[in-house]
Symmetry: C2
Subunit: 144 residues, 2 copies
C-alpha cells in the first residue's frame, strides 16, 4: 500500500474509495508542476498503468474538480481544458494573451475579501482561482 498524499486522504474522507485509477491520476498531477491538459494526463496515466481506462481518468478529473482539488481552466485558446492543482485551495497565474505563456505567483491577499464574501452571501468558501490576462515582456516588444 502506497503512503497517502493529503489529497488522497481528502478523497477518502469524503467517502470515495481509493482505487488504483484515482490514485494514479492524483499521482500524475502531483508529480507535474503547473498545468496539464486532459490529453497529457491520459498519456501520463497510460505510461504508468496502461490498464487504467480513459473513462476513469475523466471520471476522476470530474471528481477532483467537484472536491476543489483541481480546477479546469482555459489557457491556450484550444477547447481542451488545462487542469491545475489548487494547493491549499487556491491558485493564481498570469496568462499572456499573445503567446499563452503562464506565470504562476503565490501571493494574492484575498483572505479579507474571502471573509467579506462569506458574510455577505452566506457561503462557505473552499478555494479560488485568480487569472490575470496580460502581455508578457517578450510580447510587448514584438509590436502587434
Amino acid at each position: 500500500m502506497k503512503d497517502l498524499s493529503n489529497r488522497a486522504k481528502r478523497l477518502r474522507d469524503a467517502g470515495y474509495k481509493l482505487t488504483n485509477a484515482r490514485l494514479t491520476v492524483l499521482d500524475v498531477l502531483e508529480h507535474h508542476s503547473g498545468h496539464m491538459t486532459s490529453s497529457e494526463i491520459l498519456e501520463a496515466v497510460a505510461t504508468i498503468d496502461p490498464n487504467v481506462g480513459r473513462a476513469s481518468v475523466f471520471r476522476t478529473l470530474d471528481l477532483l474538480t467537484r472536491l476543489a482539488i483541481i480546477r479546469p481552466t482555459y489557457i491556450d485558446g484550444s477547447m481542451t481544458p488545462n487542469y491545475v492543482l489548487l494547493p491549499d485551495g487556491h491558485h493564481h497565474h498570469i496568462v499572456c494573451i499573445r503567446c499563452n505563456r503562464v506565470i504562476e505567483f503565490d501571493d494574492c491577499g484575498l483572505s479579507a475579501l474571502e471573509h467579506q464574501l462569506e458574510k455577505t452571501y452566506d457561503v462557505v468558501i473552499s478555494g479560488h482561482l485568480l487569472e490575470f490576462y496580460a502581455l508578457c515582456v517578450a510580447c510587448q516588444d514584438s509590436a502587434q
Copy 2:
C-alpha cells in the same frame, strides 16, 4: 449601419473587420447577463440570423477571448465552457461546488495587486477573472 458598442470598437481598433457574424455574436453576448455556453450562443445567433455559420461563431469566440473581451470558464462540470463578458476587463463570481449556482459580485480590490504584479513580472495586465468555490446557503443545509 448599427451604432457600435464599445466592444465592437475595440474589435475594429484592433484591426478586425466588423462583419455581420462578429457583430451578431457580440450582440447576443451583450444582451444576456451572466454566463452562456457555446450551445446557447449558437442557438441565440441562429435565431437572430440563421445565415451565420457555426464555424464563424467559434472563430468569433476565439477572437473575443484573445482580445480579453470574453473569457471561457468551467461552471457546471460539463466539458462545454461558459463564456462571460469581462466588463472593464474583469469578472468575479462565486460558484457553488455542489449545485453550481453562480453568484456574481463586483468588488475585488485587486488593483494594488495588479500594479505590483506588473512591476514584478514586467507585464502589462489587461484583465482578470476571479472565481471562488463555495457551498451556497441551500447546499450547506442539505447535508452531504
